[in-house]
């Protein structure tokens, strides 16, 4: 027996923490709570209605802190796309009656490191044995490694990589909540501090504090919500590896391909029906990989496509309209913020609102190309 999950559940509450950026006076756990309290208000529900708790790590901690007594929990933690998976898993739990109202939370003190645990494993882990001895020091020195293979295979250039950052800054200029709002040029990007060639500081994500939360329920119940429901039309998820050296094809993410393929298959739409795209951009090459791996563009087309400013304001397919991890915010697990922007665009309440958004794709990466989650969302209840 299978259950049709297409359009079965909807996001009825969505909020970020009131502040974003540098928040030294709040712990990571408090950022979860701040976002949850705001999302509960946004959904117009009582806390007592929540019976499903989803977070990347410890749902028990969230349940304790907010005094919720859930009967369904999911602590799936596969990195920054965990929240895409939580939305998908919540849709399953809601559709099968395992819970009625789901709360999904994220909070991270990525910058101020208040109440944050450790991050990387020890010397006996796979990464500790086979990668750390070579002087890797976190995502900027590891996540970036595949891109030279993409340049080699498709002729993608340093200027095209820089164009991704420029296009997203144009969206951030229109968003008062974005951390980085000054206009930049490709030349500015290429002259900014070199971190790990070919990546400059302006091609690396911000490091910030913040949080976000979502409330979901079954689509039949969503009609009564105060805000316009955002329906889950398609979902997909996958993992590929736990070390960059084990990536199968350095010019393409297998997790991206599988996750997005399944999401589009469930939604039953063509790429041409998508009005708005969010692609988790920890670094500037991720939108390039994302647009190709999800099938919006053919292999090798994404570099020139971004360089032509096709994703920027006035272009033909808006991508990362909040400014993205490069210019808006990046707490460490940014996927929650990509979903929040998709919801805002579908509700018509985004800072840089795109006209007539009916279908939005929110695509997340976890770890360093280790995992992926794709959501296809719509505000059209008859979709």
């Amino acid at each position: 027996m299978t259950i049709d999950l297409r359009m079965a559940a909807a996001i009825i509450g969505a909020a970020e923490t009131e502040e974003l950026g540098v928040i030294p006076d709040k712990s990571a756990l408090q950022l979860h709570a701040d976002a949850a309290i705001r999302a509960i208000a946004d959904a117009g529900i009582a806390k007592s209605e929540i019976d499903g708790v989803f977070t990347a790590g410890s749902p028990a901690q969230i349940a304790e802190y907010l005094q919720i007594e859930p009967t369904f929990v999911d602590g799936t933690a596969v990195g920054g796309c965990s929240f895409m998976l939580h939305v998908a898993h919540a849709a399953m739990a809601l559709a099968t009656g395992r819970c009625n109202v789901a709360l999904i939370t994220h909070g991270q003190s990525g910058r101020s490191r208040v109440g944050e645990g450790g991050r990387f494993g020890g010397a006996a882990t796979l990464m500790g044995q086979f990668e750390s001895p070579y002087g890797t020091w976190g995502p900027p020195s590891v996540f970036t490694i595949p891109f030279v293979q993409h340049m080699h295979r498709y002729g993608t250039t340093e200027a095209q990589l820089a164009a991704v950052a420029v296009a997203q800054r144009q969206w951030a200029e229109r968003n008062p909540r974005a951390m980085m709002r000054d206009p930049i040029t490709i030349d500015d990007v290429l002259k900014s501090r070199l971190i790990c060639w070919p990546f400059h500081i302006l091609e690396c994500c911000l490091v910030t504090d913040g949080g976000g939360a979502l409330i979901m329920t079954r689509s039949d119940r969503a009609k009564h919500a105060p805000k316009r429901p955002v329906y889950v039309m398609g979902m997909g998820e996958s993992v590929e590896m736990s070390m960059i050296s084990q990536m199968h094809d350095f010019a393409s993410s297998g997790a991206f391909v599988r996750s997005s393929r399944d999401a589009f298959a469930m939604a039953g739409i063509s790429h041409g029906e998508v009005d708005h795209v969010m692609i988790y951009d920890a670094f500037a090459h991720l939108p390039i990989f994302g647009m190709e791996d999800m099938g919006f563009l053919k292999r090798g087309e994404a570099g020139p496509w971004f360089a032509d400013m096709r994703s920027a304001p006035g272009g033909d397919l808006p991508v990362n309209t909040n400014g993205g991890g490069l210019s808006y915010t990046h707490t460490g697990m940014y996927g929650m913020f990509a979903i929040q922007e998709s919801v805002r665009q579908l509700r018509g309440e985004a800072a840089a609102q795109v006209d007539d958004v009916r279908v939005s794709v929110a695509h997340g990466v976890g770890g360093m190309f280790f995992a992926a989650g794709t959501l296809i969302l719509t505000n059209d209840e008859s979709a």
Binding site: G117, G118, R119, F120, G121, G122, A123, A124, L126, G128, Q129, F130, E131, S132, P133, Y134, G135, T136, W137, P140, S141, V142, T144, I145, P146, F147, V148, Q149, H152, R193, L194, I195, C196, W197, P198, F199, M243, I244, S245, Q246, F250
Partner: protein, 157 residues
């Protein structure tokens, strides 16, 4: 995740060195003898090589596998040039963190050394050969730990 042990005050951050597990001990022991080893499956067609070491074939899950010495020849597959250093690498910048493709097929992370770390000297496909970097590290229990890391340099043509 294991908690990080705090360094004694004033200590220089140590370069991270691998700590073998039972499954990888033989690989690191061979490295100490400057032998780069791979494993291959004796049940899969063509006996394909794989890396990193596992006591079973990751493709078919057969335990009928053996270790063998790699040729040490490889090509440069993809890389970055780090302009900021990890702890223990502060004085090495810029340095190359690369994925190399071994002649036998598997890929691994390594550093490309004995080369000017600039893109014009590091074309994808560059022929490389293994070289070794020997490390000694004093452990807290008073013993000395010896580890040799496989590195790659442009091949002598």
């Amino acid at each position: 995740m294991p908690a990080h042990r705090p360094l004694p005050s004033g200590a220089v951050p140590r370069r991270p060195l691998p700590e073998p597990t039972p499954e990888t001990q033989a690989y690191w022991d061979a490295c100490q003898q400057h032998r780069l080893t791979l494993q291959r499956c004796l049940d899969c067609e063509g006996k394909p090589a794989y890396s990193y070491p596992r006591p079973f074939c990751p493709a078919c899950l057969s335990r009928n596998v053996e270790s063998f010495d790699a040729s040490g020849r490889a090509t440069l597959h993809t890389y970055i040039i780090a302009h900021r250093g990890a702890p223990g690498f502060e004085d090495k910048t810029p340095y190359v963190i690369a994925i190399v493709e071994l002649e036998e097929g598997p890929r691994m992370m390594t550093n490309v050394v004995e080369v000017d770390p600039a893109p014009e000297h590091l074309p994808v496909g560059l022929q490389l050969e293994v070289t070794w970097e020997d490390h000694e590290q004093a452990e807290r229990d008073g013993t000395t730990r010896r580890v040799s890391l496989p590195m790659f340099r442009p091949a002598a043509s």
